[in-house]
């Protein structure tokens, strides 16, 4: 190993033992290492302490409303698509106490000691290209706008990302349609491509940041050969060619925004459960509600923030009732925001093509199919006034 840290963009080779050392190196640097592991019949993101925690030899079969684990014929560690819930769970936790207060002689005071100390900084192992794009979208929404989510900002500042280039596309993946994968292009500290054949199991590792360079310098590695790089490129190219789904994004924003009265909304509402699973698993959804609680004695109160969804009636409840009482209007709101008005709001689509909303819909409603159905029979211009339902 040469002296000094490898420059950003360096591509090197890491052995299986090197990956083990990577997990240890991150833990030594004070990171809580989170990565893929098998639990409850799925590959979920949770604490990873050792190589054996990774889902060696497992893959996921995903389709609309269906998920099951299957054995692979090899011992790939990253041979699956994406987990049931995204990294959002750690960066933007489902339930977070905003503050707690106690009653005083003449009013109330915020209880400073109740603000929980940040427990740890997170290193994510196995972040996919679509997920990096999703994190970038949440950065834009939660940090780069006028109102900064300081908790999220702190967690992101301390966040170390080890990306993985996808070795196979899942049945509901369509990142190629959304230009968000399968190859990671930016926003990572280190990126791995898993290379596996009968004789060898190793990783091409790419440096994406100064912090990544420092970590790689502590690991035993060697230079990548042109053959290694070609093999890694072939992995990603093969994945790009095997997407389970396609979403035609051409003119999609205008298409959805000009079809508020399309009959397809009634059709999808007949199937939609308004259960909110799609929004709960989406890596870019960020909506929350706040709940105020007071105790029995009236001496303490707290404000808690928790994930909410545009599929609940409470979400759009204003004085007198819900703005979106019907499932039809909730589904239309969700898909139109995600694929269209998100672009007006944040300059990017809200969809990264990870396929989670398709897989984890209990009745298998498919965002790519619904968008295609609107495209198949778009409204004529006389039918597009927004007020009609």
């Amino acid at each position: 190993m040469a002296g000094g840290e490898p420059p950003i963009g360096t591509q090197a080779m890491l052995s299986l033992d090197g990956l083990r050392a990577l997990i240890e190196a991150l833990a030594e640097r004070g990171y809580q290492v989170l990565g893929p592991t098998v639990r409850d019949g799925a590959i979920v993101y949770d604490e990873v302490a050792k190589l054996a925690d990774l889902p060696s030899g497992w893959t996921d079969q995903q389709d609309a409303g269906r998920y099951r684990l299957e054995r692979r014929t090899d011992n790939a560690l990253f041979g699956y698509a994406v987990g049931p819930q995204s990294w959002r769970r750690f960066l933007h936790p489902p339930i977070e106490r905003m503050w707690r207060a106690h009653r005083t002689e003449d009013g109330f005071a915020i209880d400073a000691t109740a603000v929980e100390a940040e427990p740890s900084k997170f290193a994510f192992l196995g972040v996919r290209a679509c997920e990096i794009h999703a994190i970038a979208i949440q950065d834009k929404v939660l940090v780069e706008g006028p109102y900064v989510d300081t908790g999220y900002q702190r967690r992101r500042r301390d966040n170390f990302l080890v990306a993985v280039n996808c070795g196979q596309a899942g049945g509901t993946c369509f990142c190629a349609s959304m230009n968000t994968g399968p190859k990671v292009d930016a926003g990572f500290d280190l990126a791995l491509t898993e290379l596996l054949d009968e004789s060898d199991h190793r990783f091409l590792i790419e440096v994406g940041s100064v912090a990544g360079a420092e970590v790689l310098s502590a690991l035993r590695h060697h230079a990548a050969s042109p053959e290694d790089i070609a093999a890694a490129d072939a992995v990603v190219a093969r994945t790009a060619g095997s997407m389970g789904r396609v979403l035609d994004t051409k003119g999609l924003k205008e298409l959805l925004q000009s079809n508020p009265t399309h009959p397809r909304w009634d059709d999808v509402a007949a199937r939609c459960l308004s259960c909110a699973n799609c929004t709960m698993v989406c890596p870019t959804c960020f909506c929350t509600t706040v709940e105020d609680h007071s105790d029995l004695t009236g001496q303490t109160a707290e404000r808690v923030r928790r994930w909410d969804s545009c599929f609940t009636a409470d979400f759009s409840w204003i004085h007198g009732g819900s703005v979106r009482p019907e499932t039809k209007s909730r589904y239309r709101q969700w898909i139109t925001h995600k694929l269209a008005s998100w672009i007006d709001q944040f300059g990017t689509s809200g969809c990264v093509g990870c396929g989670r909303c398709v897989t984890w819909c209990p009745v298998g409603i498919d965002i790519t199919v619904e968008a295609a159905a609107i495209r198949a029979t778009p409204a004529t211009s006389t039918e597009t006034d927004h007020g009609r339902t």
């Binding site: 019949g41 998920y67 489902p94 339930i95 699973n277 609940t312 009636a313 209990p362």
Partner: protein, 258 residues
Amino acid sequence: MAERRRPRLAVWKFASCDGCQLSLLDCEDELLAVADAVEIAYFPEASSVMAKGPYDLSLVEGSITTAHDAERVHKIRRQSKFLVTIGACATAGGIQALRNFADVNEFVAAVYASPQYIKTLATSTPISSHVKVDFELNGCPIDRSQLLEVISAFLAGRKPAIGNHTVCIECKLRGTVCVMVQGTPCLGPVTHAGCGAICPSFNRGCYGCFGPKERPNTASLAAEWLKLGATPRDLHRVFRTFNAAAEPFRQEADAHGD
């Protein structure tokens, strides 16, 4: 601070198993705080002291199954500033509402040695079918932390922070992997949150103990159950449990014969 008059709490029982009012006694750590915060004026399950009304908050458990109870609930309403129903019996008629779909006299004849002593109505109905209810707390049984939330909210004069969304949201908040997508039929997508999604966390489908969520699409869920291998009889039975008389569940059970 000047001593404020403690609000007066009453706990009432109609046709029920007592499980929901016992969840108040089951509050353990918080029970003393409850007893401090309110005057427990009427709670026969807990105390032999039965003080007269009026009451600031009445918790009502159980359903209306007799003519006598149908009158008694009006008296309770008149004495109560706020009336909150607790549990599936009080909010939906309970498991005993199965009589609504059969001949109650046949049940009486089958169960009692001397059926002539039994005077009962042909139906079991929720409290809200008889008097105005200020808040309904679902569940069979109710969740005790939700009960504390409701009591705290009424004491503070605020709205209880209790959503009417699905069990699915609770699964996702706690990180439980969806059992239905993995092949296990589950009522979570049509069921009111509140239990904390207990059954899916043990890899079981939801049984619907908390009754229908707001605007449930039971027909779509039932169609998916059939795809997963459930029979129409399974569907009929699964919607005919503790919340059988809740209208969306009643309709879906009817749609699948018996």
